[in-house]
């Protein structure tokens, strides 16, 4: 780990903090960054709001914008870290958090909850969709692992193939559910495209409870992930229990993905591109890459969400937006890198 690493991470953290403050001030009701800081600081201390600040600001900041912004940041960070872990473990820079079919499982669960709602057989919708999505994601993970289990080394080919098979079956299932939903299929499609509309502090807490411990666990194993890039056999002779680390981190990254998906719907791109892009810039050392991915993913998704919320005349699904902005940007970087190598 180079001596520049702490500086890079501090800069990214600072950038994220500034982005959060600026984003909180943006929207239909513009609030100056200084006022945002004053209100949040007052709330944190439990003090009253200083005179001269619009009395509706505290509500807008604390109950409407901040939870949504933080949820977007944590989900973005979680997806990017999960993506980095999947890429490192599967030794495949094209892997993403959805490679093992976790997103399809979540989508199937959510669609099922929504269609049950449409057919009038259900518990309150708000509660059931994330729960169903989470159960769907975890069930998928169990099935994929069971399929891959006979391969003692859990090789990346076996895992990816198992994920692809299960995801294919699930998307057929989702198709069937959409068919059942008939005219109200829009509800399902909209959920699948992902959104942070109406996120509350409970969503923030829920994602934080999974994503932060997950991040710490991956940081703990970051060095082992570097060694595992040499291949399982060599890693084993260097003292890494590669099978154990693989299992722990795959479950950890899948759990982070599952919770993110169940809260926000399926947001593509962040988990694939952020680790990829940061690896191009910072190099492959996971001890720097993984924390950098957290900040990078958080900044990207927060920015995208702020654009749909505050700039665009109507809210675009965030998954669509991330791919529309990030895709061409990635093409540009990728092309430049390819040309630079010659």
């Amino acid at each position: 780990m180079s001596s520049k690493s702490p500086f890079i991470l501090m800069s990214l953290a600072l950038f994220l903090a500034v982005a959060i403050i600026l984003a909180t001030g943006m929207g239909f009701l513009a609030i100056a960054p200084l006022e945002v800081i004053q209100v949040v600081w007052a709330k944190v201390r439990g003090a009253g709001i200083a005179a001269g600040i619009n009395p509706t600001f505290p509500f807008v900041i604390m109950e409407v914008r901040l939870p949504r912004i933080l949820a977007a940041a944590i989900v973005g960070g979680g997806l990017a870290v999960a993506g980095a872990v999947f890429q490192a473990i599967l030794l495949n820079p094209l892997a993403d958090p959805y490679t093992l079919g976790v997103s399809s499982g979540a989508a199937f669960g959510a669609s099922l909850a929504l269609v049950l709602g449409i057919m009038g057989i259900t518990v309150p919708l708000l509660f059931s969709v994330p729960l169903f999505a989470f159960i769907g994601a975890m069930t998928t993970l169990v099935v994929v692992f069971a399929l891959a289990a006979p391969d003692g080394r859990l090789s990346s080919n076996t895992l990816i193939l198992s994920g692809v098979i299960v995801a294919a079956i699930l998307s057929a299932g989702i198709g069937f559910i959409k068919y059942l939903a008939d005219e109200q299929v829009g509800v399902i499609i909209f959920w699948l495209m992902g959104s942070f509309v109406g996120k509350t502090w409970s969503d923030v807490t829920l994602t934080a409870v999974f994503v932060f411990p997950g991040l710490l666990l991956t940081l703990y194993f970051a060095r082992d992930l570097n060694i595992m890039a040499l291949g399982g056999r060599t890693a084993d002779t260097l003292g890494v229990d590669s099978r154990k680390v693989k299992k722990i981190l795959l479950v950890c990254a899948s759990l982070m993905t599952a919770i993110c998906v169940s809260v926000s719907g399926i947001i593509g791109f962040v988990g694939l591109i952020i680790p990829h892009l940061l690896r191009l810039v910072l190099g492959p050392d996971n001890r720097l890459l993984i924390p950098a991915c957290f900040f990078g993913g958080a900044i990207l998704l927060l920015t995208a969400d702020t654009i749909t919320r505050a700039w665009l005349p109507t809210e675009l699904p965030i998954g669509v937006l991330t791919s529309l902005i990030g895709g061409p940007f990635f093409c540009y970087i990728f092309r430049k890198k390819q040309l630079g190598q010659r």
Partner: protein
């Protein structure tokens, strides 16, 4: 057994008794009895599918034995912690695919992993050993290059340097030179040979090229169909009859002279 007879009073490095391993249909090893002493260059030879890689996996404890026992320095191999073994046995694999662009020196430094505590930086000694390994393998000038940009031969030298930096008593090579041109093959074999001669390390190398084995090894271990066919010093064990029987080719062995190691010629029937 020849090896044990010659060195009956020496402490054994490895002692395998009644070792069996079966994985699906191939990679089978049956009733392996094998004693290895320190300070020797062992060549492991045998046809494809005779179980060479599996035997190396057992010795490096990357696969568990299914029955029987392997003792390493007087203690059951299975009782060692992975980290304990990592400072005693290093592996140079045959194939090396690296999708991530670490620099050459980063990669060689990975050999020091078992010595560097988690969340710590490498010590001066770690860096010195990495330097030395890169010099020995003549990749010092490539140190800042990305591993993904190197040629096959350069990559393999990096992998050997990584194992040298691990600084272990035992070095296990799984056809480590079979993707290299003859120049680099001989160069690597000379380096390995020197480790055995000058530093008393033990090398166990699976080798396809019989002449290479004859030129550099002290002892050969011959595998056929998952069993040990024979073991012994190169000059005694590598006979024309043995090669014919194990590899199904007509062979002729030119005995070693003062200036030449034994030479083997073979033709298909």
């Amino acid at each position: 057994m020849a090896v044990a007879k010659n060195n009956i009073h020496t402490d054994l490095l490895f002692a395998i008794s009644k070792g069996c391993f079966a994985y699906r249909t191939n990679n089978v090893l049956l009733d392996i009895d094998l004693d290895l002493v320190p300070g020797q260059f062992y060549g492991l030879i045998g046809p494809n599918g005779s179980g060479k890689t599996t035997l190396l996996d057992l010795l490096t404890a990357t696969r568990p034995l299914q029955s029987g026992q392997i003792m390493f320095q007087g203690k059951a191999l299975a009782d060692y912690a992975k980290k304990e073994l990592a400072v005693k046995i290093a592996l140079v694999p045959q194939q090396f695919a690296m999708g991530f662009d670490f620099t050459v020196s980063d990669l060689v430094l990975m050999g020091r992993y078992p010595y560097i505590p988690r969340f710590s930086n490498p010590s001066q000694r770690d860096l010195d050993l990495v330097d030395e390994a890169m010099h020995v393998m003549q990749i010092h000038t490539l140190r800042h290059r990305l591993i993904t940009d190197l040629s096959g031969g350069e990559k393999q030298r990096v992998v050997v340097a990584r194992a040298l930096a691990q600084d272990t008593e035992v070095l296990v090579l799984d056809e480590a030179t079979s993707n290299l041109d003859i120049h680099h093959t001989i160069e690597i074999m000379h380096v390995i040979r020197k480790l055995v001669r000058d530093q008393g390390r033990t090398v166990i190398a699976a080798i396809h090229d019989l002449n290479l084995a004859a030129a550099f090894c002290d002892q050969v271990i011959v595998l056929k169909e998952g069993r040990i066919f024979t073991t012994g010093p190169v000059g005694e064990a590598l006979t024309a009859d043995l090669i014919t029987e194990v590899f199904q080719v007509q062979a002729e062995v030119q005995a070693a002279t003062l200036n030449h190691s034994p030479r083997i010629h073979y033709t298909l029937s």
